[in-house]
């Protein structure tokens, strides 16, 4: 009951945000955070069961590029384009996932196979530069001024804010639904001991595949949303190894075993990057006339240090760590060592 009040209050605050005088720039940040949160939530739906994919950059890119390419070249509205992109990314997930699960490719082998997938998609985008613009990026064509429902485009941030908010909320609901489903127990059992689970009748491949496809489809949707909002995509902003790692890390920072973990991860990592970018700037700071420091690298540097610290000291992420503290220091993370 108490919980419901909190949820209602947070909901009310989030809904009224555009009316309490939040500027365009913070609103932009919030929208970006919401979209990424959705992608991260999508990743954690499978990641929490030990299925660490480094291939989600591929799904994100499929979502963005397929939607935009269909719109620009065929004139197909994103209303149809997005579902097609999602379906395609689901198919790719099956093509990669089925053999992986069938042949028991787990742990870091799974991570490396999916990493190869990220690279395949990135290289295909670059190789087909005549249509996709290659590494220079790609822009969906504008459909008139202002709002276009047909093209799901808008230069009104408030409208997009509500869309992003709804999408994010749906992501949390899906996470919760998986958390409460029977599939969760099956997947946890599989993670614990695949052979034993198979022996007691858990359909290992089937269960893993379901959650992988769900996760891939959600991530593709996030990619499409990102494209519709930013109106620009490139292999490095929504695909490739870099983005795949970014997705994993944000979730690790936030907390993988909690519905709000990925969101917290998104808030922290994206805000941090933004604060550092503005705070330190991207100038060259010259100490002597020969030695100059490029401040643009600082966020990356701090981000890296943070991740290492998190994995060593707080492997359950911020949300997990705080909750442990809250509920008493009984059992802390599995990888806590002297």
């Amino acid at each position: 009951m108490n919980n419901n009040i909190v949820i209602a209050a947070i909901g009310a605050i989030l809904l009224s945000l555009p009316f309490v005088g939040v500027d365009s720039y913070p609103l932009h940040l919030i929208i970006v955070i919401l979209i990424w949160s959705f992608a991260y939530t999508g990743w954690s739906i499978m990641g929490r069961f030990g299925l660490v994919s480094l291939g989600h950059g591929a799904f994100m890119a499929i979502g963005g590029y397929v939607t935009a390419l269909l719109w620009n070249n065929v004139g197909l509205t994103p209303w149809i384009g997005i579902p097609i992109a999602m379906a395609l990314s689901g198919v790719v997930a099956v093509i990669i996932g089925y053999p992986c699960f069938r042949f028991r490719i787990v742990g870091h082998y799974f991570a490396l196979v999916t990493l190869a997938l990220s690279e395949v998609v990135r290289q295909v985008i670059i190789a087909t530069r005549d249509t996709t613009g290659g590494s220079l990026g790609y822009t969906p064509e504008r459909h008139g001024e202002g709002w276009s429902i047909l093209a799901i485009q808008s230069d009104d941030r408030v409208a997009f804010y509500y869309i992003a908010l709804a999408v994010w909320a749906v992501g949390i609901v899906i996470w919760k639904a998986v958390d409460r489903s029977m599939a969760r127990y099956a997947l946890e059992a599989i993670w614990e001991d695949e052979d034993a689970s198979a022996a007691v009748g858990v359909r290992v491949t089937h269960e893993k595949l379901k959650v992988t496809v769900l996760s891939a489809v959600m991530t593709a949707f996030a990619g499409a949303m990102y494209c519709q909002y930013q109106m620009f995509i490139s292999p490095d902003t929504i695909g490739g190894v870099g983005i795949s790692l970014q997705i994993v890390f944000a979730v690790v920072v936030g907390g993988i075993y909690n519905a709000l973990g990925p969101t917290v991860g998104a808030v922290i990592t994206l805000l941090l990057a933004e604060v550092l970018r503005i705070g330190i700037g991207t100038e060259n700071i010259c100490i002597t006339d020969k030695i100059c420091l490029n401040a643009a690298g600082v966020p990356l540097l701090i981000y890296g240090v943070m991740l290492v610290m998190f994995i060593i000291f707080l492997p359950k992420g911020i949300v997990g760590g705080v909750l442990d503290r809250w509920r008493g220091p009984a059992q802390t993370g599995p990888s806590k060592q002297p």
Partner: protein
Amino acid sequence: MAEFTDALFSIFFVETLINGLLLGGVLALLSLGLNLVFGVVDVVWICYAEIIMLGMYTIYFLHVDAGIPVIIAAGCGIAVTTILGLLVHRIVIHYLLDAAPINQLLATGGLLFFLQGSAMVAFGIEFRNLGVSLGSLIVSEDIYLSWTRILCFVLAAGSVGVLYVFLSRSYLGAAIRAISQDREIMPLMGVDTKKLYLLTSAIGGALAGLAAALLALQYDVHPFIGLSFGPITFMICVMGGLGNMVGGFLAAFIFSELITIGGYFADLEWGYVLAFVVFIATMFVRPEGLFARKS
């Protein structure tokens, strides 16, 4: 079809095959140290390519800015990467030895960002070229082979040979093979596991330095160069069977031929796509790697 057969028997195709072979030498050298660490410490250094990147910078600055001869600069580069290898182990992996493999992988992923960020802060984002070329071997009017690549090939083959002898003949080599199978009982054999891990990490780092020296002769260095050859390096190690030096060596040539042949018939990117797809497919057929012994 005639066009295809023509292309196949053209002199340029032969050159492509030879270049593939030579690229294989580069890739083999790249994957060697990673494979060693992978096999022994059982940890994937996702940041391996970034260590190479810092080695390349060391060589670049010592040679171009300080005017130190390239050979000595390369030696210093190797020293730097050796120390980096030690640090990666001592500062990060050491604390994660009992953690889930995936956490170890992610922690070195954090290091990847850290090293990239540091390079960007310290050296900016310009592309820097060592400006040293060993020239080409002119085989015939149409076929030029880069001396650097030939050197890479020779060094890679040589290093694999030395490593093979070291691993199979020496006490330390035997311990390195043993520790990857059963870490817990190593003290019973009189082995100091901590020292052995450090030694392995140092050798891994030194091999990264060797790769850096040869890459610096061929490619511009910039903070993100690691992303362009890091992933392929992991895949070679996995395809060859983790920790299997000889398997990794052969896998490097499979990859390089796929890339260059793909590049010959279409774009280089399609070559990469072909290589990665073949990699994924082999994983399904032989998850322990192409050259793993059946157990």
